[in-house]
Protein backbone atom coordinates (compact mmCIF):
# COMPACT_ATOMS: atom_id res chain seq x y z
CA UNK A 1 0.00 0.00 0.00
CA UNK A 2 1.28 3.45 -0.95
CA UNK A 3 -0.40 6.51 0.47
CA UNK A 4 0.68 10.12 0.18
CA UNK A 5 -1.00 13.22 1.47
CA UNK A 6 -0.37 16.79 0.39
CA UNK A 7 3.21 16.17 -0.71
CA UNK A 8 5.13 19.26 -1.71
CA UNK A 9 8.68 19.62 -2.88
CA UNK A 10 10.47 22.59 -4.34
CA UNK A 11 13.97 23.24 -5.64
CA UNK A 12 14.72 26.85 -4.92
CA UNK A 13 11.74 28.79 -6.18
CA UNK A 14 10.56 26.02 -8.46
CA UNK A 15 7.67 24.06 -7.00
CA UNK A 16 8.02 20.53 -8.34
CA UNK A 17 5.31 18.76 -6.34
CA UNK A 18 2.19 20.74 -5.43
CA UNK A 19 0.38 18.93 -2.65
CA UNK A 20 0.11 15.50 -4.23
CA UNK A 21 -2.23 13.02 -2.59
CA UNK A 22 -2.53 9.55 -4.01
CA UNK A 23 -3.14 5.99 -3.04
CA UNK A 24 -1.95 2.81 -4.72
CA UNK A 25 -3.41 -0.46 -3.56
CA UNK A 26 -1.97 -3.97 -3.36
CA UNK A 27 -2.83 -6.24 -6.24
CA UNK A 28 -2.97 -3.37 -8.71
CA UNK A 29 -0.68 -1.73 -11.23
CA UNK A 30 -0.96 2.02 -10.88
CA UNK A 31 0.41 4.09 -13.71
CA UNK A 32 1.63 7.62 -13.20
CA UNK A 33 1.81 9.29 -16.57
CA UNK A 34 2.63 12.77 -17.68
CA UNK A 35 4.91 14.82 -19.88
CA UNK A 36 8.59 15.37 -19.09
CA UNK A 37 9.06 17.66 -16.11
CA UNK A 38 5.63 16.87 -14.66
CA UNK A 39 7.13 15.72 -11.34
CA UNK A 40 6.63 11.95 -11.80
CA UNK A 41 10.25 11.02 -11.13
CA UNK A 42 10.47 13.37 -8.15
CA UNK A 43 7.35 11.79 -6.70
CA UNK A 44 8.62 8.23 -7.12
CA UNK A 45 11.98 9.23 -5.58
CA UNK A 46 10.13 10.66 -2.59
CA UNK A 47 8.29 7.35 -2.27
CA UNK A 48 11.60 5.46 -2.49
CA UNK A 49 13.19 7.58 0.24
CA UNK A 50 15.68 9.25 -2.08
CA UNK A 51 14.21 12.74 -1.78
CA UNK A 52 12.81 14.36 1.33
CA UNK A 53 9.52 16.19 0.78
CA UNK A 54 9.17 19.75 2.09
CA UNK A 55 5.74 18.96 3.52
CA UNK A 56 3.12 16.23 3.52
CA UNK A 57 3.05 12.59 4.47
CA UNK A 58 4.16 9.52 2.61
CA UNK A 59 3.57 5.99 3.86
CA UNK A 60 4.55 2.59 2.56
CA UNK A 61 2.87 -0.32 4.30
CA UNK A 62 2.27 1.60 7.54
CA UNK A 63 5.75 3.09 7.69
CA UNK A 64 6.44 6.77 7.24
CA UNK A 65 9.12 7.04 4.54
CA UNK A 66 10.63 10.20 6.04
CA UNK A 67 10.77 9.30 9.71
CA UNK A 68 11.08 5.49 9.40
CA UNK A 69 13.05 5.33 6.19
CA UNK A 70 14.84 2.02 6.69
CA UNK A 71 11.68 0.22 7.85
CA UNK A 72 9.71 1.61 4.92
CA UNK A 73 12.47 0.58 2.52
CA UNK A 74 12.22 -3.03 3.73
CA UNK A 75 8.92 -3.23 1.91
CA UNK A 76 9.98 -1.63 -1.37
CA UNK A 77 12.05 -2.42 -4.41
CA UNK A 78 12.94 0.39 -6.77
CA UNK A 79 14.06 0.40 -10.38
CA UNK A 80 15.58 3.74 -11.41
CA UNK A 81 15.33 5.12 -14.91
CA UNK A 82 18.94 4.23 -15.77
CA UNK A 83 20.27 1.79 -13.19
CA UNK A 84 24.04 1.92 -12.63
CA UNK A 85 26.19 -0.67 -10.95
CA UNK A 86 29.81 -1.00 -9.90
CA UNK A 87 31.34 -1.26 -13.39
CA UNK A 88 34.00 -3.82 -12.53
CA UNK A 89 31.79 -6.27 -10.67
CA UNK A 90 29.95 -9.01 -12.55
CA UNK A 91 26.17 -9.40 -12.67
CA UNK A 92 26.34 -12.29 -10.22
CA UNK A 93 28.52 -10.32 -7.80
CA UNK A 94 26.11 -7.39 -7.95
CA UNK A 95 23.10 -9.61 -7.30
CA UNK A 96 24.83 -11.45 -4.44
CA UNK A 97 25.77 -8.15 -2.85
CA UNK A 98 22.19 -6.89 -2.89
CA UNK A 99 20.93 -10.26 -1.69
CA UNK A 100 23.26 -10.12 1.33
CA UNK A 101 22.37 -6.51 1.94
CA UNK A 102 18.68 -7.36 2.17
CA UNK A 103 19.06 -10.75 3.82
CA UNK A 104 17.66 -12.57 0.77
CA UNK A 105 18.70 -16.26 0.38
CA UNK A 106 21.56 -16.42 -2.17
CA UNK A 107 19.86 -19.10 -4.27
CA UNK A 108 17.30 -16.48 -5.31
CA UNK A 109 20.06 -14.81 -7.37
CA UNK A 110 20.08 -17.77 -9.76
CA UNK A 111 16.31 -17.65 -9.98
CA UNK A 112 16.15 -13.98 -11.01
CA UNK A 113 19.08 -14.42 -13.40
CA UNK A 114 17.01 -17.10 -15.11
CA UNK A 115 13.84 -14.99 -15.09
CA UNK A 116 15.60 -12.09 -16.76
CA UNK A 117 17.60 -14.37 -19.08
CA UNK A 118 20.93 -13.03 -17.87
CA UNK A 119 22.58 -16.47 -17.73
CA UNK A 120 25.02 -15.60 -20.52
CA UNK A 121 25.98 -12.36 -18.78
CA UNK A 122 26.27 -13.72 -15.24
CA UNK A 123 30.06 -13.45 -15.19
CA UNK A 124 30.33 -10.29 -17.30
CA UNK A 125 31.35 -7.03 -15.56
CA UNK A 126 28.38 -4.66 -15.55
CA UNK A 127 30.51 -1.95 -17.18
CA UNK A 128 30.57 -4.08 -20.34
CA UNK A 129 26.78 -4.49 -20.54
CA UNK A 130 24.54 -2.71 -23.02
CA UNK A 131 21.88 -0.31 -21.73
CA UNK A 132 19.12 -2.88 -22.26
CA UNK A 133 20.99 -5.67 -20.48
CA UNK A 134 21.76 -3.32 -17.59
CA UNK A 135 18.06 -2.54 -17.39
CA UNK A 136 17.35 -6.27 -17.23
CA UNK A 137 19.83 -6.55 -14.37
CA UNK A 138 17.88 -3.74 -12.72
CA UNK A 139 14.70 -5.77 -13.23
CA UNK A 140 16.46 -8.79 -11.71
CA UNK A 141 17.27 -6.67 -8.64
CA UNK A 142 13.69 -5.48 -8.47
CA UNK A 143 12.49 -9.08 -8.33
CA UNK A 144 15.31 -10.27 -6.07
CA UNK A 145 13.95 -8.55 -2.99
CA UNK A 146 10.42 -10.02 -3.34
CA UNK A 147 9.23 -6.74 -1.80
CA UNK A 148 5.50 -6.01 -1.46
CA UNK A 149 5.83 -2.58 -3.11
CA UNK A 150 7.47 -2.19 -6.52
CA UNK A 151 8.40 1.27 -7.79
CA UNK A 152 9.56 1.67 -11.38
CA UNK A 153 10.70 4.96 -12.84
CA UNK A 154 10.31 5.05 -16.63
CA UNK A 155 11.12 1.36 -17.03
CA UNK A 156 11.76 -0.06 -20.43
CA UNK A 157 13.28 3.02 -22.04
CA UNK A 158 16.38 0.98 -22.96
CA UNK A 159 14.53 -2.28 -23.55
CA UNK A 160 13.55 -3.66 -26.94
CA UNK A 161 9.81 -4.14 -27.66
CA UNK A 162 9.95 -7.83 -26.74
CA UNK A 163 11.43 -7.13 -23.35
CA UNK A 164 9.07 -4.21 -22.73
CA UNK A 165 6.22 -6.68 -23.20
CA UNK A 166 7.94 -9.16 -20.85
CA UNK A 167 8.32 -6.42 -18.28
CA UNK A 168 4.61 -5.66 -18.38
CA UNK A 169 3.74 -9.34 -18.07
CA UNK A 170 6.09 -9.67 -15.11
CA UNK A 171 4.54 -6.68 -13.37
CA UNK A 172 1.06 -8.08 -14.07
CA UNK A 173 2.13 -11.38 -12.51
CA UNK A 174 3.55 -9.61 -9.47
CA UNK A 175 0.40 -7.51 -8.99
CA UNK A 176 -1.73 -10.66 -9.28
CA UNK A 177 0.28 -11.96 -6.34
CA UNK A 178 -0.69 -9.04 -4.17
CA UNK A 179 2.11 -6.60 -4.84
CA UNK A 180 1.56 -2.87 -5.08
CA UNK A 181 3.07 -1.73 -8.36
CA UNK A 182 3.60 1.93 -9.25
CA UNK A 183 5.07 2.81 -12.63
CA UNK A 184 5.92 6.24 -14.00
CA UNK A 185 6.09 6.67 -17.74
CA UNK A 186 5.56 9.15 -20.50
CA UNK A 187 5.13 6.40 -23.11
CA UNK A 188 1.42 6.09 -22.31
CA UNK A 189 0.14 4.17 -25.30
CA UNK A 190 2.36 1.18 -24.55
CA UNK A 191 0.58 0.64 -21.27
CA UNK A 192 -2.95 0.53 -22.67
CA UNK A 193 -4.89 -2.31 -21.03
CA UNK A 194 -1.96 -3.20 -18.78
CA UNK A 195 -2.51 -1.05 -15.72
CA UNK A 196 -5.46 -1.09 -13.35
CA UNK A 197 -5.36 2.65 -12.75
CA UNK A 198 -3.74 5.56 -14.51
CA UNK A 199 -3.12 8.98 -12.98
CA UNK A 200 -2.15 11.95 -15.09
CA UNK A 201 0.51 14.11 -13.46
CA UNK A 202 1.06 17.59 -14.80
CA UNK A 203 2.89 20.60 -13.34
CA UNK A 204 3.56 18.80 -10.07
CA UNK A 205 -0.02 17.80 -9.38
CA UNK A 206 -2.31 14.86 -10.13
CA UNK A 207 -4.59 16.41 -12.69
CA UNK A 208 -7.04 13.58 -13.24
CA UNK A 209 -7.46 9.83 -13.51
CA UNK A 210 -7.58 8.30 -16.97
CA UNK A 211 -9.33 5.20 -18.19
CA UNK A 212 -6.50 2.60 -18.26
CA UNK A 213 -8.18 0.74 -21.15
CA UNK A 214 -8.29 3.79 -23.37
CA UNK A 215 -5.08 5.68 -22.85
CA UNK A 216 -4.29 8.56 -25.19
CA UNK A 217 -1.26 8.57 -27.50
CA UNK A 218 -0.40 12.11 -26.58
CA UNK A 219 -0.93 14.16 -23.44
CA UNK A 220 -2.34 16.98 -25.54
CA UNK A 221 -5.14 14.61 -26.48
CA UNK A 222 -6.22 14.42 -22.88
CA UNK A 223 -7.98 17.79 -23.09
CA UNK A 224 -10.11 16.63 -26.00
CA UNK A 225 -11.00 13.23 -24.57
CA UNK A 226 -12.85 14.56 -21.57
CA UNK A 227 -15.08 11.51 -21.57
CA UNK A 228 -12.17 9.40 -20.35
CA UNK A 229 -11.42 11.67 -17.42
CA UNK A 230 -12.49 10.67 -13.99
CA UNK A 231 -12.29 13.26 -11.24
CA UNK A 232 -9.28 12.67 -9.06
CA UNK A 233 -8.99 11.79 -6.28
CA UNK A 234 -12.30 9.93 -5.94
CA UNK A 235 -13.95 11.24 -2.80
CA UNK A 236 -14.39 7.87 -1.09
CA UNK A 237 -10.73 6.90 -1.54
CA UNK A 238 -9.05 10.10 -0.46
CA UNK A 239 -5.72 9.13 1.16
CA UNK A 240 -6.47 11.15 4.26
CA UNK A 241 -9.10 8.56 5.12
CA UNK A 242 -6.52 5.81 4.90
CA UNK A 243 -3.76 7.54 6.80
Amino acid sequence: MIATESLTKSYGRKLVLRGISLQASPGKITLLVGPNGAGKSTLIKVLAGLIRPDAGRVQLNDFNVVTERVNAQRSLAYLPQSPSFHPRLTCTEVLRFYARLRGVPPDRCGLVIGLTELDDFAQVPTGALSGGTRQRLGLALLLLADAPVLLLDEPGLSLDPGWRKRLQETLHFESQHGKTVLVTTHLVAEWNNVADRCLLCRDGAIECELDPTDLPHDFDEVKSTAATLINYPPHESRPSAAL
Binding site: A48, G49, Q73, A77, F85, H86, R88, L89, E93, F97
Partner: protein, 266 residues
Amino acid sequence: MNLALAPLFERGPLHAILAREFRAALINRYFQVFCALALLGGIAALVFSEDGSAVGFFILQIALYFVSLFSLLAGVSSAQGEREEWPLLFTQPVARGAYVIGKFCALSSIFGGVLLLLFLPALFTSSAATLAPLYVQTLLLAAVFIACGLVAGFFAHDRAQALIVGVSAWLFLLFGVDLVALFAARWPVMQNVPDLWVAALMFNPLDAFRIEALFALQQIPAEAANKTPLANWWIEHAGAWFAAIAIFWSGALLKIAGLRLNRWEE
Protein backbone atom coordinates in the same frame (compact mmCIF):
# COMPACT_ATOMS: atom_id res chain seq x y z
CA MET B 1 25.05 -0.97 21.99
CA ASN B 2 23.53 2.47 21.71
CA LEU B 3 20.19 2.07 19.89
CA ALA B 4 20.95 4.98 17.59
CA LEU B 5 24.16 3.30 16.44
CA ALA B 6 22.73 -0.22 16.16
CA PRO B 7 21.53 0.11 12.52
CA LEU B 8 25.09 1.05 11.51
CA PHE B 9 26.44 -2.25 12.76
CA GLU B 10 23.75 -4.69 11.57
CA ARG B 11 25.68 -7.82 10.78
CA GLY B 12 24.16 -8.79 7.40
CA PRO B 13 24.51 -5.44 5.60
CA LEU B 14 27.91 -4.77 7.16
CA HIS B 15 29.21 -8.16 5.99
CA ALA B 16 27.84 -7.47 2.50
CA ILE B 17 29.56 -4.08 2.34
CA LEU B 18 32.83 -5.48 3.71
CA ALA B 19 32.82 -8.38 1.24
CA ARG B 20 32.13 -6.08 -1.70
CA GLU B 21 34.83 -3.64 -0.62
CA PHE B 22 37.41 -6.43 -0.36
CA ARG B 23 36.42 -7.69 -3.81
CA ALA B 24 36.52 -4.18 -5.30
CA ALA B 25 39.94 -3.56 -3.72
CA LEU B 26 41.35 -6.68 -5.37
CA ILE B 27 40.57 -5.23 -8.80
CA ASN B 28 41.37 -1.63 -7.89
CA ARG B 29 44.46 -0.28 -9.64
CA TYR B 30 45.34 2.01 -6.69
CA PHE B 31 45.69 -1.05 -4.49
CA GLN B 32 47.63 -3.00 -7.06
CA VAL B 33 50.10 -0.11 -7.49
CA PHE B 34 50.27 0.46 -3.76
CA CYS B 35 50.98 -3.21 -3.03
CA ALA B 36 53.87 -3.13 -5.52
CA LEU B 37 55.23 0.16 -4.15
CA ALA B 38 54.89 -1.01 -0.55
CA LEU B 39 56.93 -4.11 -1.28
CA LEU B 40 59.51 -2.11 -3.25
CA GLY B 41 59.66 0.46 -0.45
CA GLY B 42 60.20 -2.24 2.15
CA ILE B 43 63.02 -3.79 0.10
CA ALA B 44 64.54 -0.35 -0.59
CA ALA B 45 64.49 0.45 3.12
CA LEU B 46 66.41 -2.76 3.73
CA VAL B 47 68.90 -2.28 0.89
CA PHE B 48 69.64 1.43 1.15
CA SER B 49 69.77 1.84 4.92
CA GLU B 50 73.23 1.83 6.40
CA ASP B 51 72.23 -0.03 9.54
CA GLY B 52 69.20 -1.50 11.26
CA SER B 53 68.27 1.70 13.05
CA ALA B 54 68.08 3.63 9.78
CA VAL B 55 65.45 1.28 8.35
CA GLY B 56 62.81 2.79 10.64
CA PHE B 57 63.57 6.31 9.37
CA PHE B 58 63.32 5.14 5.78
CA ILE B 59 59.93 3.57 6.46
CA LEU B 60 58.86 6.72 8.31
CA GLN B 61 59.41 8.77 5.15
CA ILE B 62 57.45 6.24 3.08
CA ALA B 63 54.61 6.34 5.59
CA LEU B 64 54.54 10.14 5.65
CA TYR B 65 54.53 10.70 1.91
CA PHE B 66 53.20 7.53 0.30
CA VAL B 67 51.01 5.68 2.77
CA SER B 68 49.09 8.84 3.62
CA LEU B 69 48.61 9.69 -0.07
CA PHE B 70 47.62 6.19 -1.16
CA SER B 71 45.18 5.73 1.69
CA LEU B 72 43.58 9.03 0.71
CA LEU B 73 43.35 7.89 -2.93
CA ALA B 74 41.87 4.57 -1.85
CA GLY B 75 39.18 6.39 0.15
CA VAL B 76 38.35 8.70 -2.75
CA SER B 77 38.26 5.79 -5.18
CA SER B 78 36.01 3.71 -2.94
CA ALA B 79 33.54 6.55 -2.32
CA GLN B 80 33.42 7.58 -5.98
CA GLY B 81 33.39 3.99 -7.31
CA GLU B 82 29.69 3.60 -6.74
CA ARG B 83 28.57 7.23 -6.96
CA GLU B 84 26.20 6.48 -9.82
CA GLU B 85 24.82 3.48 -7.96
CA TRP B 86 23.61 5.56 -5.01
CA PRO B 87 19.98 5.72 -6.22
CA LEU B 88 19.86 1.92 -6.03
CA LEU B 89 22.00 1.56 -2.91
CA PHE B 90 20.10 4.14 -0.91
CA THR B 91 16.73 2.52 -1.55
CA GLN B 92 17.94 -0.60 0.24
CA PRO B 93 16.83 -1.02 3.86
CA VAL B 94 20.24 -0.14 5.26
CA ALA B 95 21.29 2.90 7.30
CA ARG B 96 23.43 5.05 5.01
CA GLY B 97 26.05 5.37 7.72
CA ALA B 98 26.63 1.61 7.40
CA TYR B 99 28.19 2.22 3.99
CA VAL B 100 30.66 4.66 5.57
CA ILE B 101 31.50 2.31 8.45
CA GLY B 102 31.75 -0.70 6.13
CA LYS B 103 34.05 1.01 3.67
CA PHE B 104 36.25 2.42 6.41
CA CYS B 105 36.60 -0.93 8.20
CA ALA B 106 37.30 -2.79 4.96
CA LEU B 107 39.88 -0.30 3.68
CA SER B 108 41.61 -0.11 7.07
CA SER B 109 41.83 -3.92 7.21
CA ILE B 110 43.18 -4.04 3.66
CA PHE B 111 45.83 -1.45 4.52
CA GLY B 112 46.68 -3.46 7.62
CA GLY B 113 47.57 -6.33 5.30
CA VAL B 114 49.28 -4.30 2.59
CA LEU B 115 51.48 -2.48 5.11
CA LEU B 116 52.95 -5.84 6.05
CA LEU B 117 54.60 -5.81 2.62
CA LEU B 118 56.33 -2.59 3.63
CA PHE B 119 57.40 -3.77 7.06
CA LEU B 120 58.24 -7.44 6.57
CA PRO B 121 61.53 -6.95 4.65
CA ALA B 122 62.77 -4.69 7.47
CA LEU B 123 62.53 -7.60 9.87
CA PHE B 124 65.81 -8.90 8.43
CA THR B 125 67.72 -6.10 10.14
CA SER B 126 65.38 -4.66 12.78
CA SER B 127 63.56 -6.33 15.62
CA ALA B 128 59.80 -6.77 15.58
CA ALA B 129 59.66 -4.88 18.88
CA THR B 130 61.14 -1.79 17.20
CA LEU B 131 58.94 -1.98 14.13
CA ALA B 132 55.62 -2.97 15.71
CA PRO B 133 54.83 0.49 17.19
CA LEU B 134 55.71 2.15 13.88
CA TYR B 135 53.45 -0.32 12.05
CA VAL B 136 50.51 0.48 14.33
CA GLN B 137 51.12 4.23 13.99
CA THR B 138 51.35 3.95 10.21
CA LEU B 139 48.07 2.05 10.17
CA LEU B 140 46.44 4.75 12.31
CA LEU B 141 47.78 7.38 9.90
CA ALA B 142 46.36 5.42 6.97
CA ALA B 143 42.99 5.24 8.76
CA VAL B 144 42.88 9.05 9.09
CA PHE B 145 43.55 9.51 5.38
CA ILE B 146 41.11 6.78 4.34
CA ALA B 147 38.44 8.71 6.26
CA CYS B 148 39.65 11.93 4.64
CA GLY B 149 39.40 10.34 1.18
CA LEU B 150 35.90 9.03 1.92
CA VAL B 151 34.75 12.52 2.90
CA ALA B 152 36.23 14.04 -0.27
CA GLY B 153 34.72 11.25 -2.37
CA PHE B 154 31.26 11.50 -0.85
CA PHE B 155 31.11 15.29 -1.09
CA ALA B 156 32.46 15.74 -4.60
CA HIS B 157 30.28 15.50 -7.69
CA ASP B 158 32.82 13.51 -9.68
CA ARG B 159 36.15 11.74 -9.33
CA ALA B 160 38.26 14.65 -10.60
CA GLN B 161 36.72 17.05 -8.11
CA ALA B 162 37.16 14.50 -5.32
CA LEU B 163 40.83 14.03 -6.17
CA ILE B 164 41.47 17.77 -6.28
CA VAL B 165 39.79 18.31 -2.91
CA GLY B 166 41.44 15.27 -1.34
CA VAL B 167 44.95 15.94 -2.58
CA SER B 168 44.65 19.64 -1.63
CA ALA B 169 43.73 18.60 1.92
CA TRP B 170 46.69 16.20 1.98
CA LEU B 171 49.12 18.87 0.73
CA PHE B 172 47.78 21.32 3.28
CA LEU B 173 48.31 18.87 6.14
CA LEU B 174 51.71 17.82 4.82
CA PHE B 175 53.19 21.25 4.08
CA GLY B 176 50.54 23.91 4.58
CA VAL B 177 50.12 23.63 8.33
CA ASP B 178 53.88 23.84 8.86
CA LEU B 179 54.16 26.84 6.54
CA VAL B 180 51.31 28.62 8.28
CA ALA B 181 52.92 27.82 11.63
CA LEU B 182 56.23 29.17 10.36
CA PHE B 183 54.70 32.47 9.30
CA ALA B 184 52.55 32.63 12.42
CA ALA B 185 55.69 32.32 14.55
CA ARG B 186 56.41 35.97 13.72
CA TRP B 187 53.18 37.17 15.27
CA PRO B 188 53.59 38.68 18.73
CA VAL B 189 50.72 36.63 20.09
CA MET B 190 52.48 33.43 19.04
CA GLN B 191 55.73 34.62 20.55
CA ASN B 192 54.00 35.44 23.81
CA VAL B 193 52.04 32.18 23.91
CA PRO B 194 54.20 29.63 22.05
CA ASP B 195 51.89 26.83 23.15
CA LEU B 196 49.45 28.07 20.50
CA TRP B 197 52.05 27.27 17.89
CA VAL B 198 52.66 23.86 19.38
CA ALA B 199 48.93 23.17 19.54
CA ALA B 200 48.58 23.85 15.81
CA LEU B 201 51.15 21.14 15.10
CA MET B 202 49.70 18.76 17.67
CA PHE B 203 46.31 18.73 15.98
CA ASN B 204 47.76 17.98 12.57
CA PRO B 205 47.83 14.17 12.30
CA LEU B 206 50.88 14.21 10.02
CA ASP B 207 52.90 16.37 12.42
CA ALA B 208 51.73 14.32 15.38
CA PHE B 209 52.84 11.18 13.54
CA ARG B 210 56.16 12.69 12.50
CA ILE B 211 57.03 13.88 15.99
CA GLU B 212 55.92 10.65 17.63
CA ALA B 213 57.86 8.46 15.21
CA LEU B 214 60.99 10.62 15.27
CA PHE B 215 61.25 10.70 19.03
CA ALA B 216 60.39 7.01 19.35
CA LEU B 217 62.91 5.93 16.72
CA GLN B 218 65.71 8.22 17.79
CA GLN B 219 64.99 7.64 21.47
CA ILE B 220 65.60 11.28 22.19
CA PRO B 221 65.09 12.02 25.86
CA ALA B 222 62.04 14.22 26.34
CA GLU B 223 64.05 16.86 28.18
CA ALA B 224 66.64 17.16 25.40
CA ALA B 225 64.93 19.98 23.55
CA ASN B 226 64.16 23.53 24.55
CA LYS B 227 60.39 23.29 24.83
CA THR B 228 57.23 24.96 26.06
CA PRO B 229 55.20 23.19 28.77
CA LEU B 230 52.74 21.93 26.16
CA ALA B 231 55.53 20.67 23.90
CA ASN B 232 57.11 19.00 26.89
CA TRP B 233 53.85 17.19 27.67
CA TRP B 234 53.36 16.29 24.00
CA ILE B 235 56.76 14.70 23.60
CA GLU B 236 56.39 12.76 26.82
CA HIS B 237 53.02 11.41 25.66
CA ALA B 238 53.65 11.45 21.91
CA GLY B 239 52.48 7.88 21.29
CA ALA B 240 49.23 8.17 23.21
CA TRP B 241 48.60 11.62 21.79
CA PHE B 242 49.03 10.46 18.21
CA ALA B 243 46.69 7.51 18.79
CA ALA B 244 44.11 9.86 20.33
CA ILE B 245 44.37 12.45 17.56
CA ALA B 246 44.20 9.76 14.86
CA ILE B 247 41.05 8.27 16.42
CA PHE B 248 39.58 11.76 16.83
CA TRP B 249 40.25 12.72 13.20
CA SER B 250 39.00 9.41 11.84
CA GLY B 251 35.84 9.57 13.96
CA ALA B 252 35.13 13.20 13.08
CA LEU B 253 35.68 12.63 9.37
CA LEU B 254 33.50 9.51 9.35
CA LYS B 255 30.77 11.43 11.13
CA ILE B 256 30.96 14.16 8.47
CA ALA B 257 30.83 11.52 5.72
CA GLY B 258 27.79 9.90 7.37
CA LEU B 259 25.99 13.24 7.66
CA ARG B 260 26.73 13.93 4.02
CA LEU B 261 25.23 10.62 2.91
CA ASN B 262 22.19 11.08 5.13
CA ARG B 263 21.47 14.45 3.58
CA TRP B 264 22.14 13.34 0.03
CA GLU B 265 19.18 13.65 -2.32
CA GLU B 266 19.14 12.58 -5.91
